[in-house]
């Protein structure tokens, strides 16, 4: 079975700059994959190749078995660009209607109403884009990407302009989409968001994937923290498998154990390890 989205040996060169140096990545059916990396790591280039906005120098990119950028691939794709704008004189409903016609969606008014409700814009369907806040426009962008019920969704910084409530709306939406079997490639700077919703994460640095796996796989053991009547101490190098033994040893030594905590690195720590001291 074809991947929902896959790139193999993807290279992109802008003049003398190598933006991508042979990237391999896949998104399976119903999977939510997060893309992380500092500015200039090649994330947006990768996303743009996947949706057909940029041509790869070498390598392959496919969407649901079709060559990325082909009409067949674009018919299965929903995309929210990092920097996008809708004509200011269009209402939210008109923006969605325009994209319905272009995506050949037969959803009609019911689909538009449902999408606006999904992004909490149901009250703003007749509001013109130039009268919307940046956050509202971004949520409208997410709704636009969902027109025609795409199998694959590519979102480039979908929450960059959103307040915490708006981010939560998008996060709940992403979880709902995953439950419905939609595959999502999410490019975001917000590690906490990626950690919360993504099944897998790929970290790019200087055009290469330097770490990939589920958030749990990417986390590293940091030891076990034991809280006893003598105070709290950290046993570095210990894992969760060592925790029962450490508790038993403390009890046998006459200590009272109040708590035990297995320490693992956060995604942020893993990310910083992967990208080194590179500042975005």
């Amino acid at each position: 079975m074809a991947h929902a989205l896959a790139v193999h040996g993807l290279e992109k060169r802008y003049g003398s700059v190598e933006a991508l140096k042979g990237v391999d990545l896949s998104v399976e059916e119903g999977e939510l994959v997060g893309l992380l990396g500092p500015n200039g790591a090649g994330k947006s280039t990768l996303v743009k190749i996947a949706v057909g906005l940029v041509r790869a120098t070498r390598g392959e990119a496919e969407v649901a078995g079709a060559r990325a950028g082909s009409r067949a691939a674009r018919a299965k794709l929903g995309y929210l660009a990092e920097l996008f704008r809708f004509p200011g004189w269009y209402t939210a409903d008109e923006v969605l209607a325009l994209h319905q016609r272009l995506a050949r969606s037969s959803g009609g008014a019911e689909e538009r109403r449902r999408l606006l409700e999904l992004v909490a814009l149901e009250e703003a369907s007749e509001r013109r884009v130039d009268g919307m806040s940046k956050g509202m426009q971004q949520r409208l962008g997410v709704a636009q990407a969902l027109v025609g019920s795409p199998r694959v969704l590519v979102l480039d910084e979908p929450t960059s302009a959103l307040d915490p409530a708006g981010r939560r709306v998008v996060r709940v939406l992403l979880e709902d989409l995953r439950n419905r079997g939609v595959s999502v490639l999410l490019n975001s700077h917000l590690l906490s968001e990626i950690e919360l919703v993504c099944d897998r994460v790929a970290i790019l640095r200087a055009g290469e994937v330097v770490a990939a796996g589920s958030p749990a796989e990417l986390s590293r053991p940091r030891g076990v923290e034991l809280e006893t009547d003598e105070g709290t101490r950290t046993i570095a190098g210990a894992t969760r498998h060592d925790a029962p033994r450490l508790v038993a040893e403390a009890v046998a030594a006459g200590r009272r154990v109040y708590g035990v905590r297995v320490l693992t690195s956060t995604l942020e720590e893993t990310y910083l390890e992967a990208v080194g001291d590179e500042v975005s």
Binding site: K48, V54, A81, R85, F86, P87, L98, R101, L102, R104
Partner: protein, 285 residues
């Protein structure tokens, strides 16, 4: 076909929302009022214009063709302004503003998208040019009771000239920023006008070199040649000294004319569009 209609409609709606559209409409109204006033005063004074004895000049034809030529220049200029401002940022400009990406990723096809934008702009500009040209004809007829021998073909050639400018502007929009493209197209337009005037001067001076330069420019920039051919057609019924004097003036007519330049213009338009489509297909956004 529905995608073409959708994108063309999108472009049309964008066009009429722009301030430049309103500016062109206001300027056109001012131009037509001034043109009507000029015609009224000049034709009213026609009885008092007496050529020197022994000089047989048909003053009504001379004035009518001269003023209509002036109106054709005004129409071409305003049509080109409209055409350039509707198309100068269709690719690079819209991509920089983030308007293009949501449309390009839809299963429409880049060539369909660009052709639809071309058709939308061409429809607006052709209608505009034909309406203004028709109004100028009506004013000349109403105030001076004069109409050229050919009325339809010059209007179509004017419209064709503007359509070629649209294709050049679309091609420029793929590779240049909006500002650079606007400057480039207006410079081409200016170069064409200068070449046309040079041709007239060269003809008057009987200078082969200047005539040759003007001829080369006409083939290189056929929108100018179409406009000049339109001028030639409106004065085609002026013979003798009247025709000679008209041809000496700035609205005198073409030295590259007829079906050759029309066919060349059609081919030129197709090549400009094909280049724009090929460049857009390869353009990273």
């Amino acid at each position: 076909m529905s995608a073409v209609a959708t994108i063309a409609g999108y472009g049309f709606r964008e066009a009429v929302r722009r301030k430049v559209f309103a500016v062109v409409v206001v300027l056109t109204a001012v131009f037509l009022v001034l043109f009507w006033l000029a015609n009224r005063y000049v034709f009213n004074d026609l009885a008092h214009i007496t050529p020197p004895a022994g000089v047989a000049v048909d003053t009504r034809t001379f004035v009518g063709a001269f003023l209509l030529g002036l109106a054709m220049f005004g129409t071409l200029f305003l049509g080109v302004v409209l055409a350039v401002f509707l198309t100068l940022g269709v690719v690079t400009g819209d991509a920089e503003r983030g308007l293009l990406q949501p449309l390009v990723v839809r299963p429409v096809g880049r060539s369909t998208l660009l052709l639809a934008r071309f058709l939308g702009a061409a429809a607006v500009c052709v209608v505009y040019v034909l309406v203004v040209y028709g109004a100028a004809l009506a004013i000349t007829d109403a105030t001076g009771h004069w109409l050229p021998a050919q009325t339809v073909a010059p209007g179509l050639e004017l419209a064709g000239a503007v359509v070629i400018v649209i294709a050049l502007s679309l091609l420029g929009s793929v590779v240049l920023s909006s500002t650079a493209n606007g400057i480039a197209v207006f410079m081409l337009f200016g170069a064409g006008l200068v070449a046309g005037l040079l041709g007239t001067i060269g003809h008057a001076l009987n200078s082969r070199t200047i005539e040759h330069a003007s001829t080369v420019a006409s083939w290189a920039l056929p929108f100018e040649a179409l406009y000049q051919d339109g001028l030639r057609l409106i004065s085609s019924n002026a013979s003798g000294l009247t025709g000679f004097l008209l041809r000496l003036g700035p609205f005198g007519g073409a030295y590259v004319h007829g079906w050759g330049i029309r066919v060349w213009s059609a081919g030129y338009l197709c090549v400009a569009l094909a280049l724009a489509l090929a460049a857009f297909a390869r353009r990273d956004l």
